[in-house]
Structure formats: structure tokens, C-alpha cells
């Protein structure tokens, strides 16, 4: 998903979010600027995102994602 540039909102360059592999699990990576060769990871840990990104709110910088459910998700990640 394309993430438009918005300097006032902490996004100095255009970018995009895609599913990338991180330590053997599918996670979300944010590539910005568009020609960045490595992602800034948005998620990580021993679990997977299932269907990429569902939505991005360009006002709040919030990313909405459907995930597999892990009771300990917030404790052992990020």
C-alpha cells in the first residue's frame, strides 16, 4: 500500500507498506523513501500477519492489520 509523503505528519518521503519476512515470519515493512532497500519494520515476533495491511490512516499514522491471535502479543514483541 502506498503511503504518501506528509512532512508535517512525520512522513518526509513517499513510501509503501508490504509484507516482508523477518526472522522467519511474515511481517509488515515500511519502505520510505520509495527506493529504500531495507524496510523499517512495523511488526515483529514469532507470529505472522496474515493478509498484509488492511488500511492506513494518513491523519493519525495508524496502520490497521488483521493478525493471527496471540495472547502474549503485546508482551513479547515490539
Amino acid at each position: 500500500m502506498f503511503i504518501p509523503k506528509d512532512e508535517a505528519n512525520g512522513r518526509p518521503y513517499d513510501g509503501y507498506i508490504v509484507t516482508v519476512e523477518r526472522d522467519g515470519y511474515n511481517h509488515l515493512g515500511y519502505f520510505s523513501p520509495l527506493n529504500a532497500s531495507t524496510p523499517q519494520y512495523i511488526t515483529g515476533g514469532n507470529w505472522e500477519v496474515v493478509d498484509g495491511i488492511a488500511a492506513f490512516d494518513k491523519d493519525t499514522n495508524l496502520v490497521y492489520i488483521p493478525l493471527i491471535y496471540l495472547p502474549s502479543l503485546t508482551e513479547d514483541t515490539l
Binding site: 503511503i3 511474515n26 512495523i42 496474515v50 495508524l62 496502520v63 490497521y64
Partner: protein, 200 residues
């Protein structure tokens, strides 16, 4: 609630672009299999609860917690199902060939857990690449009928072995170049486990 990690539910989360502040939007205290479709500006979303209880669909808002527009509650379905004894489910994990695998038993409604009653056991196998059979999702199908029909009372076992999805790369990719082989080993390992568990 199990503290073991398992991919048999689907919930909706939000996270800041920086990776901070991961928060659930769905009720993670209860089992759920949710699907979602957002409006272009991400202020509204259609949430589809797919089970394990009666499915429903609503439109909710990311900015107003009180906004809730129900689209479908399936009340007729809920009413109709009250007339039937539906199967019971048992979820768990087994260790097979070095991997932790999810399984589900679909049990007859009045299943005798004492071990005194012998039940015919059927394995429902699929196991295609990046598939998932074991899921906390509403379903009424042939296998549930086999379990709940009083003249049959089969015990159905489903196992997601190697090659199925959502458990990481290691368990997903081992089947490459030998499709069907590891899948069979894992079903066999699960069957052997069941043999001791149920003494069939």
C-alpha cells in the same frame, strides 16, 4: 485461556507507523475469527465476525467508539440452530516430527470423555500449501454432521501439518520439491498420537 501461541484465530489490530502501540480493535478476551474491509480514509470499517459463534457483520468507526451499524445478525440462523445438538470442539497442539501442530477434534454433542465409549475416528485431511483447516470459525458441514448425527457419532480429527500456513517460514517451506510427503508423515504422526489418546 491457553497461553500457547497459535494461529487459529484472526483479530484486528492497529499499530503506529513506527511500530509502537499495537492495540486490538476486536475482543481478544473471547475467541474470534474476524475479517475486515475499510473505507478509503480508514475512518470506518465493516467488521465480519466469522465465528466460532453465530457470524455477524457490522459497520464500526475508528474515531467514534459508540458508532455501530449492524448489517446482519443472523438471528434466524441462531433461532433455527437451537433445535439441534451441535458438535463440541476440542483444540490443542501436538508435537510431531519436531514441529508444533494445531489440531481440532469435532466431537459428538454428548461425547463421553471417560474413555469407556468407543468412537469411530475419521481424519479430515487437506493440508494444501499455506492452507488452514484448524480455525475457530463458524461452520456447518459434512464432518459436523457425521459427528452430531446420533446414528453415527464419529469423532473427526483435523491436523494442520507442515506445509500449511501462518506458523512461520520453517514449517511452511519444508514441503518444497516433495509435495505430499511431509504432509503424510504429519498426519500419520497425529494418528499415532490419537491411537494412544483414545486407545482406538
Amino acid at each position: 485461556m491457553s497461553t500457547k501461541k497459535s494461529p487459529i484465530e484472526r483479530h484486528l489490530y492497529s499499530v503506529h507507523l513506527t511500530g509502537k502501540d499495537l492495540k486490538p480493535l476486536t475482543d481478544i478476551e473471547n475467541d474470534g475469527w474476524y475479517g475486515v474491509s475499510f473505507s478509503p480514509l480508514a475512518k470506518y470499517y465493516q467488521l465480519s465476525y466469522g465465528g466460532p459463534d453465530i457470524p455477524y457483520q457490522s459497520v464500526l468507526s475508528t474515531t467514534d467508539r459508540n458508532f455501530n451499524l449492524p448489517l446482519e445478525n443472523n438471528t434466524q440462523l441462531a433461532e433455527a440452530l437451537k433445535k439441534y445438538d451441535l458438535p463440541k470442539y476440542e483444540y490443542g497442539q501436538i508435537n510431531a516430527n519436531g514441529f508444533t501442530l494445531n489440531y481440532r477434534e469435532i466431537r459428538p454433542p454428548n461425547f463421553d470423555e471417560s474413555g469407556n465409549t468407543k468412537y469411530p475416528v475419521l481424519f479430515h485431511c487437506y493440508g494444501g500449501p499455506v492452507s488452514q483447516t484448524v480455525a475457530k470459525r463458524f461452520s456447518l458441514d459434512w464432518h459436523r454432521w457425521l459427528a452430531s448425527e446420533p446414528r453415527l457419532e464419529y469423532l473427526i480429527v483435523e491436523v494442520d501439518g507442515r506445509g500449511t500456513g501462518f506458523m512461520g517460514r520453517k514449517s511452511r517451506v519444508g514441503i518444497r520439491g516433495k509435495l505430499g510427503q511431509l504432509e503424510s508423515y504429519d498426519q500419520a504422526a497425529a494418528a499415532s498420537y490419537s491411537h494412544y489418546k483414545f486407545q482406538v
